[in-house]
């Protein structure tokens, strides 16, 4: 081989790497932009379509504050709160779920499988049924419950350090206990119709109000930014604890921060909508698939989660013979995908 060829190869390799990296960056940005567009389109669609058609001009007029008979009520009281909360709650679920999955290096270790959603729901149901609370206090209780359960899982799986296996299994055990506690609490709710309670259990946007969206938005911004602050560390933790430590990640501190932020997100959303099935679970893997495992999965996962809840609610409200809460739609759509995901991962031997 001539020396000239070698040197040209040596020169070409880094430039190819750089090109590749740039190309992957571009791809990632394109995917995120596409997801954003889809989300925007989804919101517009849900605002215009429904029992009655509202044309775009009227939608814009109402949103800018005009009073249009008929349309104002439909938009401001019915469709806008639903769409807003769907997007916010979905983003919270997606972000929280993806953070957990990345941190525990296991796509199955999402908050809804390892009992954190169950903890938040149990606390919320307790607050609603036993303490007759409504609104913001319920959210607070749900957050305390979710965090408490997360800490309990962490403490119970502590035995000369926390092994991921033990953590996940402990979570599954606690989740089963909490489910039966929720079932008991629901039987104690005489005034509340059973249908409504069950609807809440599967996750629904039926009783949302516009003023619930502000706390959710604040939570999403504050806790989401906190999670994004850890995004780099999370990427390092994907390589394994030792590698992450070698790369300068302070493991226990980072873990604590991620757990608090992710649980907070999931609990906030759960308090408003109930545990919407599988959104936290599915958003991460779907986002990773869309971005082709390219860079941090957090932001795409938030967008995917928002899209899931928005579309799930639309399908449940308008496209099915009976009206279903969003949790049933995401559950029924998510379940087969979930099982194939588990099968594929097991076949690859990653768990």
């Amino acid at each position: 081989m001539s020396p000239r060829a070698t040197s040209s190869q040596a020169r070409s390799t880094p430039s190819t790497v750089r090109q590749l990296r740039r190309q992957r960056q571009r791809q990632r940005r394109r995917t995120i932009a596409l997801l954003l567009c889809a989300l925007l389109a989804g919101v517009c669609l849900t605002l215009m379509l429904g029992q009655s058609w509202i044309d775009p001009a009227t939608v814009i007029a109402v949103l800018s504050g005009e009073q249009v008979p008929g349309a104002t009520f439909t938009l401001m009281e019915l469709r806008l709160p639903r769409a807003l909360i769907a997007v916010l709650a979905g983003a919270c679920f997606g972000l929280g779920g993806a953070a957990f999955q990345t941190m525990l290096r296991n796509p199955l270790a999402s908050p809804d499988v390892i009992g954190i959603s169950a903890g938040a729901s149990a606390a919320a149901v307790f607050a609603i049924v036993m303490l007759s609370l409504r609104g913001a206090p319920v959210a607070l209780v749900a957050i305390v419950g979710g965090l408490g359960i997360a800490l309990l899982i962490y403490a119970l799986s502590w035995r000369r350090g926390v092994a991921d296996t033990r953590l996940i299994l402990t979570g599954i055990g606690l989740a089963a206990m909490l489910q039966s506690a929720i079932a008991y609490l629901l039987t104690q709710a005489p005034a509340r119709p059973l249908q409504e309670a069950m609807r809440w259990m599967t996750g629904s946007l039926n009783s949302v109000h516009l003023d619930q969206s502000l706390p959710l938005l604040v939570a999403l911004i504050v806790l989401g930014l906190a999670l994004l602050h850890f995004a780099r560390d999370l990427e390092a933790m994907r390589l394994g604890d030792d590698m992450a430590r070698g790369l300068g990640v302070r493991l226990s501190l980072t873990r604590l921060g991620i757990v608090v932020a992710a649980v907070g997100l999931v609990a906030f959303a759960t308090a408003v909508t109930g545990p919407i099935a599988f959104v936290a679970f599915l958003s991460g893997p779907v986002a990773a698939w869309l971005t082709r495992h390219n860079g941090s999965v957090l932001i795409p996962a938030a967008l995917v989660g928002a899209l899931f809840v928005l579309m799930g609610d639309f399908i449940g409200q308008h496209l099915l013979p009976a009206r279903y809460p969003v949790g049933v739609v995401t559950g029924v759509i998510g379940a087969p995908y979930l099982i194939t995901l588990v099968m594929r991962d097991n076949a690859r031997g990653s768990t």
């Binding site: 008991y184 069950m198 099968m343 097991n346």
Partner: protein
Amino acid sequence: MEIKTRPLAPGRTCHPRPTGVYLLLAALAASILLSVVIGARPTDLTALMGLLDGRIDSIDEAAIASRLPRTLLALLAGAALAVAGATMQGLTRNPLADPGLLGVNAGAALAVVIGIAWFDMQQASRYIWVAIAGAGASALLVYLVANLGRGGATPLRLALSGAVVTAALTSLTSAVILPRADIAGLIHSWLIGGVGGATLDRITPVLPFLALGLAASLLAARKLNLMALGDEAATGLGERVALARALAALGAILLCGATTAACGPIGFVGLVVPHALRLLVGADYRRLLPLCALGGALLVILADTLGRVLVRPAELDVGIVTALLGGPVFIWIVRRHTLRSL
């Protein structure tokens, strides 16, 4: 998990140690008495004696008469679930196997809910086949999902696939129930898992299935012992592993399906009882399975009685009590073992 076996004299078959059996039997008898006497209306033994003489005159005697089928159902359900749990643990060589956690009950529940909602099946005698089919299908699904890939069905994989399949089936179940306001109440109380309101009509149709399942499990006991040594060793010792697996699985599925059809999904009994008894009598399935039947019956009867006492005059369904009792045990097992295999 380490397998403790006692050396056996050649030619001697192994019998359960009598004292343990007598103790369990005595405890079971006591728990049945308690379960019959305690309730929203406390009664005393004279009423029971009166009933045994064939009188149902006073309210106390009527109360006891209505508690008898309930106690019988609790006894059967407990025995069936504990034996099914032990069989599944041996079959999968996995300490965390339990009909509730592995999605078997959820499968039976979904099948029954579909039967009630779409095919108008109202009595247990009509949906028992459906329940058993659902139990079998979901057990197969969980095992297939967990068993893919290298390493086979490790405890973590099995528990995760069980949790995932349970979650999936549960959301399908609520999708079936929600549009049907007329049957929601009926199904909801059934779904929690309870033995309240049991009548002999509800119990008799499941009896043949329970008997068949119990027989299959007990027949499989010796095979389960051999399979605990690993598939190769079992094959080397002349065991047809596939046949043994099929027999044990048939037993477990019949027991779970029939129990779920009769009283709804009850979790954790199949997990807790075999582990507790293993501490007492070791891991020999020939000894373990019969004792599990006694221990499971004891646990469910006590849980049912406890549920009646705790929130008197209301009741806690037995499925809730067993989950609250069993969850800590599950976590204890997770903490205690390195979780390779049984």
